[in-house]
Point group: C2
Chain length 367, copies 2
């Protein structure tokens, strides 16, 4: 790592800090005679979740997403502790001060000085010819996955005629968002080279361009189907409205200033155009993109829509209860919380909605 110029000392230090913070949480729990099973990413599964009364994730927001991804029981609390405050915003975790004072958090839980927070999540139905409801875990490292997947693909090629399939409910619930877009840009993608000897240090030999527009049709709240071409479609929850969706949709101070300057030019501004006004408008606009994780509604946004003779997009973003998407893509996928991916190719139809039965139980400590 160091030879390649990576900051090995920095990585080691962050690992040390994380390990120390995890020990603190585990010790705090065991001091209260709470039985603790400490599992790493690979060992974390639905059996472990069933065993537990509650799940605590120790890491950043990504770890919290992973923890939530195996919890389907509405009454199984999941609590996040941010063991890496330097690197993670910890939106999904307890406030950072509990990282070094976890017993305080436990005391509040004992005394009922908290309330339950149900974070709504998104469910996905997939149907159509040639769909593949088997998820790909983007964080999975095991070599066996290659063989597993090769068999999987062989199976699918054999079964090609057998698939007028009804809607499959996919075995995932999105805590942040579902993103639909082209996964690899090049139709002529050649290969990736896998060095079996040292897994972590190998990298695919080919880099694929990020930029490939996605073609699809979209229907919002059972409205009319619209053909679209864009860099992808993002459908988020209230939780996710602070995440990627926010970064897609937020407006820059610079852009608002420019827009108000133009409006002023058209004689439409009767106040001096100063930084304070621009800041207010920018902040108000960006805040309007956020909403409560407990609201059972979704926010969809189209990323970099391409508008021309063929494609239109009447609304670039908005709230909805249901979004249906029909893929017209060659090589697209649906990605849930940046961690699990499903093929979503020409002919497949996804139905995206919130069911309050899928909510994730978390806690909000009183401050």
């Amino acid at each position: 790592l160091a030879l390649k110029g990576s900051n090995y000392a920095g990585l080691l230090e962050r690992h040390r800090i994380h390990t120390k913070n995890v020990e603190h949480v585990v010790d705090s729990l065991r001091n209260e005679r709470i039985e603790v099973r400490l599992v790493k990413r690979r060992e974390y599964n639905e059996e472990t979740v069933r065993w537990a009364d509650a799940v605590i994730s120790a890491g950043g927001d990504g770890t919290m997403l992973l923890a939530a991804s195996k919890v389907f029981d509405k009454f199984k609390p999941v609590i996040g502790v941010n063991t890496d405050p330097e690197r993670s915003e910890g939106h999904l975790c307890l406030p950072v001060r509990y990282t070094h004072a976890f017993p305080e958090a436990l005391q509040k839980l004992y005394r009922g000085e908290f309330r339950w927070q149900w974070r709504q999540r998104i469910r996905l139905y997939l149907e159509g010819t040639g769909i593949n409801p088997t998820p790909v875990d983007l964080h999975e490292q095991q070599l066996s996955q290659e063989q597993h997947s090769r068999a999987h693909i062989n199976e699918r090629f054999q079964d090609q005629r057998s698939d007028i399939s009804g809607p499959h409910l996919l075995p995932v619930r999105a805590l942040n968002e579902v993103f639909i877009g082209e996964s690899l840009s090049s139709r002529y993608a050649v290969c990736s080279v896998l060095f079996r000897e040292n897994f972590k240090s190998c990298k695919p030999s080919f880099k694929f361009s990020l930029h490939r527009a996605s073609y699809y049709e979209i229907s919002v709240d059972d409205g009319p189907w619209e053909k679209q071409k864009s860099s992808g479609l993002n459908v988020c929850t209230g939780t996710g409205s602070k995440a990627w969706s926010y970064n897609i949709n937020k407006v820059a101070h610079q852009a608002v200033e420019e827009i108000l300057k133009i409006a002023k030019k058209h004689g439409s501004l009767n106040m001096p155009l100063n930084t304070e006004l621009v800041q207010k408008v920018t902040n108000d606009y960006n805040e309007s993109l956020l909403y409560s994780p407990e609201e059972p509604k979704m926010f969809f946004s189209i990323r970099e829509p391409i508008v021309n003779r063929v494609f239109s997009s009447s609304r670039q973003r908005g709230f909805s209860s249901k979004v249906c998407v029909r893929s017209r893509c060659w090589d697209a996928c649906m990605v849930v919380d940046g961690g699990t991916s499903f093929e979503f190719n020409d002919g497949a139809i996804a139905s995206i909605m919130i069911d309050t039965e899928d909510a994730l139980c978390t806690v909000l400590l009183e401050e």
Copy 2:
């Protein structure tokens, strides 16, 4: 293809149209006793360019980008004919009417009823430890590339200590843009499966999430270095200002309406907020993103900047003569015109600028 639900009949028809249009161009040239070499993508190379007095691309904008990518001579005209007007906007090609009336275009060229247009292009210098100045052609289909690249990677692992390298001028010139971003999202990316039997129908078994923020440092016009985290950095030419850059930066009618509503709420609008005003402001703003292909200046924009405690971004977009970027990414690349890709990992520094010697010679016919 049809079994998978693809529109085979449609693909075949487009191929037929394209072939007919190509024949029309070739016949028109030969009728004037102009010697024509008709080459496909794979056969198109620098030797062919050297042989020619002029290069005509027959396809869409993508084909024009490919044609330009092998031309480094400022005085070798490259002309694009849009043989696929249904699918391609043809921004880089002659007006669509010449597709079926190419002799008219030739007549104008003979009579001098045109002017030369020099489209400025971007050059790239790369330096730093562990860089790899070998480009990967994202459109290249040949199997041998795998072996080529495997050898290439082996070489690099052996040479790891030998690389305090000065700036390499990369053998490419961007006609549209250079994009810098993470190429694959998952650090634990496993593999892609390659079916050697039927190349075009095989698809990698794993889809990688598109969403992975890129870390880098940026210095504009030799200004101070700024740490940034975003979905990537786009640096375009005047030509490219109509392309991806436009889609990244354009503002939606819906967003402008919302911004003006908020400004109105703060007492800042003295005109009724009607669709006409919103449309005017939207159009003016979006038009300000475009500029002449002949202007020797670049436009940089940061895609979905992440602003938090650690990362700031003083300017999200702007014009510049020089952009330097230091990679802090694990698995990033620089992608030129969506077709050629260079590794750009932790420690590598790219210097991006326009040199008028690199301009591409095209024609603007008088109308």
